[in-house]
Symmetry: C2
Subunit: 438 residues, 2 copies
């Protein structure tokens, strides 16, 4: 086993160069732990001449990343190009199709095409590993697949998007509104120029679909993740939540309903929630990610760490590479694809919770009565009115009404919001956040 394990790396952005640096910095350690040296034999990127601060002369250069699928003498390909389709997918399909193992950080590709890719890998005796796709170097997939291998897991909750968590924690700390904090996050490098995928919940949804498939042993169902982002949350909502004893967090949650012990219905949701102070995710602050898995024998297991960054992502990729170099072959989703259960989508409308509801309404008589009537007609009962009549801002035409409901099914909350749609009293769409109990 002393022969070198030879890699091709497709993509030399911050993650790709991070992998090169890690492999160089910790080469001796990796050799010792893997039982053989790990070498980069070939690389591919868009621009060969760009200065990456790394000498690429010793690697075979491929202009076309897909060429790494066919290049002789490679043991595995690391795909860090990104994008759910395009060259990343073509490379993965082609490499696996000829029996070459693939390590990727590509959450969108795995969430959307992971099942088909895993089938190809299995048919050709190759491995498809993607630890870096969820929470970067925080080894959550491995914890689910290996550490908790003896357990049935029926519920996974996580804070899976560092940008959103950074923004919510900063809003909490600084009392500032979303837009102000987003600009600051962009300036500090915690948010992309186009933050839609992060603050809109899409990024967390990709990760959640992967976690649910691997944790529960079901086929990935990315298209069924219900997603709501944090864009409409105001500093005032966070202040209200705090007064009630809660933190606002963008929580990704997957829940498996079984029938006779067999996975039957899958609920997957990404949405801002109110967390009580003693909820393990309430304390997760800043750009940190965390996942809480409810397992039948080991109980609740929480793992937390950085969820992004070139160094952290490189750590996850190298962990997968070392596993391959050691000869560990593992089905992509923990079990053969034929054993992954095809579940139905659970009806989220049935789920009951108390809700925080916040309305921005016109400042005129009778508005509160109109709200109360809509709630009554939707069979949502109000537990307490926590804010009434505070003006939203000097330039805006609305005042704020915030309330907490008694436990109600999600569909009744939706119904109440539906009933108020189009009402001239409603200045902006109401915000609804469930209160998660421990």
């Amino acid at each position: 086993m002393s022969e070198a394990f030879r890699l091709g790396i497709a993509g030399l952005g911050t993650v790709g160069t991070g992998v090169l640096r890690l492999l160089a910095d910790n080469a001796d350690l990796l050799h010792m732990r893997a039982g053989r040296p790990i070498e980069v034999a070939a690389v591919s990127a868009r621009d060969r001449s760009r200065d990456r601060g790394i000498d690429l002369a010793s690697y075979t250069w491929c202009d076309d990343p897909v060429a790494l699928a066919d290049l002789d003498g490679l043991d595995a390909v690391v795909e860090v190009i990104g994008g759910s389709e395009g060259p990343a997918l073509t490379l993965a399909e082609r490499a696996l199709g000829r029996g070459r193992s693939v390590v990727t950080a590509n959450k969108a590709m795995i969430a959307e095409h992971g099942f088909a890719l895993a089938q190809t890998a299995e048919a050709k005796g190759a491995a498809l590993l993607f630890e870096a796709a969820v929470c970067a170097g925080t080894p959550i997939l491995q914890t689910l697949r290996e550490g908790l291998v003896g357990n049935r897991i029926d519920r996974i909750e996580g804070i899976l998007n560092g940008t959103s968590n950074y923004i919510l924690s900063a809003m909490e700390r600084q009392g500032e509104d979303f837009d102000a904090v987003l600009s600051e996050a962009q300036r500090l490098g915690y948010a992309e120029a186009d933050p839609t995928l992060d603050v809109g919940g899409g990024d967390a949804a990709h990760k959640l679909a992967i976690l649910a498939a691997l944790g529960f042993g079901v086929r990935p169902h990315f298209g069924e993740v219900e997603v709501e982002g944090i864009q409409d949350i105001r500093a005032a909502d966070i202040v209200q939540a705090e007064r009630l004893g809660y933190s606002v967090r963008l929580v990704a949650m997957a829940d498996l309903e079984r029938e006779d012990g067999v996975p039957a219905r899958l609920l997957q949701r990404v949405r801002p929630c109110l967390l009580p102070a003693d909820h393990p995710l309430a304390a997760i602050d800043g750009p940190t990610n965390a996942v809480l898995a409810q397992s039948d024998y080991a109980g609740p297991i929480l793992i937390q760490g950085a969820g992004a960054g070139s160094e952290s992502t490189a750590s996850a990729i190298v962990a997968d590479v070392v596993a391959l170099a050691r000869g560990d072959a593992r089905p992509a989703f923990g079990v053969p694809t034929s054993s992954l259960v095809q579940t139905a989508c659970a009806d989220s409308g049935e789920r009951e919770a108390r809700y925080y509801l916040r309305f921005v309404v016109a400042d005129r008589p009778g508005v509160l009565a109109e709200l109360a009537a809509a709630m009554r007609d939707a069979r949502v009962s109000i537990q307490s009115l926590i804010q009434e009549g505070e003006s939203v801002g000097p330039e805006e035409a609305g005042i704020t009404i915030a309330l907490v409901t008694h436990k109600a099914p999600a569909r009744n909350i939706r119904d109440a919001r539906e009933r108020l749609k189009g009402s001239p009293s409603i200045v902006e769409p109401p915000l609804a956040m469930p209160i998660l109990m421990d």
Copy 2:
């Protein structure tokens, strides 16, 4: 790979029967994930006739656990007898000596004899796995060995003893003294009849020595762990700490000093500390365990969960068994024993920290001057006197003086305590707890 993986289980206490239950409850899942069925073929325990609520008729019975080392047709032995020597050690030595893999939950045995056992395993091509020995089913060893395999780790901090953490959190919540809370913990099953190993820090020391060896790639040095327990902490100390913004926790800490990148000196300490509210371990409440590893690429990684209990321990044992059934062979401490570095013991006296010091002194004039003089002579400078002259209790002859020092080396603190030893003013030995900074 569809042939069954056959186990012998030595020890049928709560953990052994927990393993039998898990293997039965999740048999289908395990078969799917391991790629082959996992079967118990033989068992051994002290009393064959004891009712364990489990039908043992289908297993070969051995009166002598050591017989499982030689019994034909076993693929591995699970050792859950306990005790660092005696039949547990004899069984492990003998099984590994004949090339049979061993899975154990025995922290004392691994901390004290793990290196020699790993050498035997290596020489004979067998595996020695012990995930259950540290934090039960919370998969920390696997996280260090696999998830963070690409990283250099130089610092590990943990809350490794659930009993002590339960007691400290309860003292914090209820404002009661150690003895009262210990009795309650014993009644609720969170503490043993003889709690010495837990509250005295010995149990955490065993776990710390294993974590340090595996995390840092050094030989286990259990004998060099500095240990202080929580027995002398009073409710008043916790109240003072809270007023200063800190939580009191029994922290196990291992720290590696390198020379030219090579492990040189190892510091291992178990002792009660004051943690600031934003330290990730400060929020760990009740019987929960948690480990924080500082890694060079993945950054700080925290994993937390149950640290004891038959079900959680069974989860860890089964994870190791599945790894063996899949054919993963891993050196016991992550690298071959010949690569484990023999480190020197770091001089803990050099480590600087601010300290919380609490004295119980005779109620008479001049005592504070005597304390202050001892501190001055030991070159410990007092930052603030936070309590002075509060009577310890109606029946006791002392009053309490609590203070916080400026940063000082541990040896100066020891010196100050030494100088006061034997003084008629000192009613009980002073308590000293370092303040951990984030």
